[in-house]
């Protein structure tokens, strides 16, 4: 954690939605009666590069706060969950019943302030195998057409991207990976597929991900990853944690088949 610089003016607001602490850099508010939500500001925008920078800074603050809450949780914290620039803290039942909410907000506000300007996510580096054989790359051709590139350029961009887990969400083992080049930021498919195969390597909305298991999904499928992203028998059960750096390593169809078979051992 880094020390926040300068002083900030914080306003306590009480409204029909509950309590909130608002400052220029972030807000801390109560959602319902059992969650405190921190929202780090995304800045005023401006150029695409400036927006990307603001988003990354906010996400690094989230990662730093999450890391702190996991290693040294305050007494009243039962659990925590993060979005790109947001972090939700669940209150313990006895604190929902008896605590003073403004104290919880202040404590979280204090920690959030410490995380402003955090430089790099503390995560490990995860290497994932990926096969881009046409039989496994359902949407690669369509993505190439949509971006005006060759399929091979799309694959190359994914392999060279310095990806990091901005958010862990949607389903156990699913990590939203930021760090794709701007030209690969294409939207989701117009309508989701009823079932995306397990292991699908996919992109949408400027992020990449691997589907840990088969599920309905609307992302564009570029290839398939044989690695097990979620294994409840392992400790930790998820391969990719918030803030981890992720790199894809290309493998042949035969190596993919060999590794895929190991999933079921």
């Amino acid at each position: 954690m880094t020390q926040a610089s300068g002083s900030f003016s914080t306003r306590i607001q009480k409204s029909s939605a509950g309590l909130s602490l608002r400052s220029e850099t972030h807000t801390v508010e109560i959602c319902g009666n059992d969650m405190i939500l921190v929202v780090f500001s995304l800045g005023k925008g401006g150029s695409q590069a400036a927006r990307a920078r603001d988003r990354k800074a906010a996400n690094q603050a989230v990662c730093a706060l999450m890391s702190h809450l996991q290693s040294q949780p305050p007494m009243f914290v039962a659990d925590a969950v993060a979005g790109v620039n947001t972090l939700g803290v669940m209150l313990r039942l006895q604190d929902q019943a008896q605590g003073t909410f403004v104290d919880f907000l202040s404590a979280i506000d204090y920690l959030a302030r410490q995380c402003l300007g955090a430089v790099s996510p503390p995560g490990k580096t995860v290497s994932l195998h990926a096969c881009f054989d046409p039989a496994l790359a359902t949407d690669l051709e369509a993505v190439a057409q949509a971006t005006g590139r060759e399929p091979r350029d799309v694959v190359k961009a994914l392999l060279e991207a310095d990806l990091h887990a901005e958010v862990v969400g949607f389903m156990p083992g699913f990590a939203y990976l930021g760090g794709l080049p701007d030209w690969l930021a294409i939207p989701r498919r117009p309508s989701p597929r009823p079932s995306v195969p397990a292991g699908s390597v996919a992109i949408a909305g400027g992020q990449a991900a691997v589907y840990p298991s088969a599920t309905p999904g609307g992302w564009n499928l570029l290839g398939q990853c044989p690695d097990l992203l979620f294994d409840p028998q392992k400790q930790p059960p998820v391969l990719i944690a918030l803030g981890d750096r992720v790199r894809f390593e290309e493998i042949s169809r035969s190596e993919f088949e060999a590794r895929w078979a190991q999933r079921f051992r």
């Binding site: 029909s16 319902g32 009666n33 969650m35 659990d79 969950v81 969400g169």
Partner: protein, 355 residues
């Protein structure tokens, strides 16, 4: 083989639950577990189990099961009736919220309650299943732990099943001496008897779908409430909704007048909670339940108070409901009342069963 239950027919939706997996939101896993954890704990305590023993969550039309041994059981939540078929014939008992002992080989069937939707059925000794991430529960949305029961399964009971059932038999016979047993059960107190006490341990009643009035859900304004037009805000508070049959343990889908003109704004995905009311583009509110996704990208227009889990658990298809404004002080008052009620329940069980 040790004591076990066998699932003959699964009913509408029967799954294995316990208190779920709190503490795993960071890996995108919501708590799951029993929709109403207080009711599940009560069912377990009534048969002498630990609070976190595995039990069945039954829904709407209950399952049909058989028991291999003389077995103590208890069910809480909605007031399902239990039909017991044994050598003694077929008897029907309106006997939720109390321990019941049935003979070896009995076939049990739970019939739909007049009010409410879900019940938690605990067996003395608990269901003996492997733990996954610290819980026996089936997280159906995340496909973790045992899946929904389909019929044909045999579920072993814990090592102490017979011993705990004997203790329940003994406790119920003691209270029988005080004329506390239902009459038809008291005639015979042997191994073939169905033991059903007259007493029961009531829980604060949830508001069910039989009432003339719609269910009232105390809720807070959500973060994106203010992005609705004033007319939409008023509609949200004043509308009466009906629970859609498309609902699941993940969330309650509602039917009613949509709030989609103008369409709700899109937002970036952010952390959500059990009780968050999302407003997807089609404009029908969606209440997140115990197997919710951990982050959500729809505007959160309301947040149902955490004290309403028991009520939400009983909102079956067609249940009419409306949201009413609440505040933090009232939520704390309700939580304290629930805590006091639980203390009273725990004391009452200990007194009845001589624990």
């Amino acid at each position: 083989m040790g004591p076990a239950i066998q699932i003959v027919r699964p009913g509408l939706l029967t799954s294995v639950q316990d208190l779920g997996r709190p503490g795993h939101l960071g890996m995108a896993l919501s708590r799951g577990g029993a929709m109403d954890t207080a009711a599940a704990r009560l069912a377990n305590r009534l048969v002498g189990n630990s609070d976190r023993a595995a039990l069945l969550e039954i829904t709407g039309m209950g399952p049909t099961i058989t028991v291999t041994n003389r077995t103590g059981l208890a069910w809480t939540g909605a007031d399902f009736a239990l039909e017991v078929r044994s050598a003694q014939g077929t008897q029907q008992w309106q006997a939720s919220h109390r321990p019941v002992v049935v003979p070896a080989g009995a076939q049990l069937r739970w019939t739909p309650p007049s009010k409410g939707f879900r019940s938690w059925v605990a067996f003395a000794g608990g269901l003996d299943l492997p733990e996954v991430l610290g819980s026996h529960s089936g997280h159906l949305a995340a496909a973790l732990g045992p899946g929904r029961l389909t019929g044909g399964e045999t579920l072993a009971l814990g090592a102490l099943a017979d011993q705990q059932t004997s203790r329940l038999d003994a406790a119920l016979r003691r209270s029988s001496a005080q004329d506390d047993l239902a009459e038809s059960a008291a005639k015979d107190s042997g191994a073939d008897a169905v033991m059903v006490p007259r007493w029961h341990i009531p829980m604060q009643p949830f508001e069910g779908n039989e009432s003339v009035e719609a269910l009232r859900l105390p809720a807070f304004e959500g973060r994106h409430f203010q992005s609705l037009t004033q007319a939409q805000q008023i509609r949200l508070w004043q509308s009466e909704y009906a629970v859609s049959p498309q609902s699941s343990r993940q969330g309650l889908r509602l039917e009613g007048t949509p709030i989609n003109d103008p369409a709700p704004p899109g937002i970036a995905s952010e952390p959500v909670r059990f009780g968050t009311v999302q407003l997807p583009p089609e404009g029908m509110p969606y209440i997140l339940l115990v197997e919710h996704q951990t982050t959500g990208g729809y505007p959160r227009v309301l947040e149902v108070c955490s004290t309403m889990a028991a009520t939400l658990a009983q909102a079956g298809p067609g249940t009419r409901l409306r949201f009413i404004p609440t505040d933090l002080a009232s939520s704390q008052q309700r939580l304290r009342e629930q805590s006091l009620q639980w203390d009273a329940i725990a004391a009452a069980i200990a007194a009845k069963l001589g624990l």
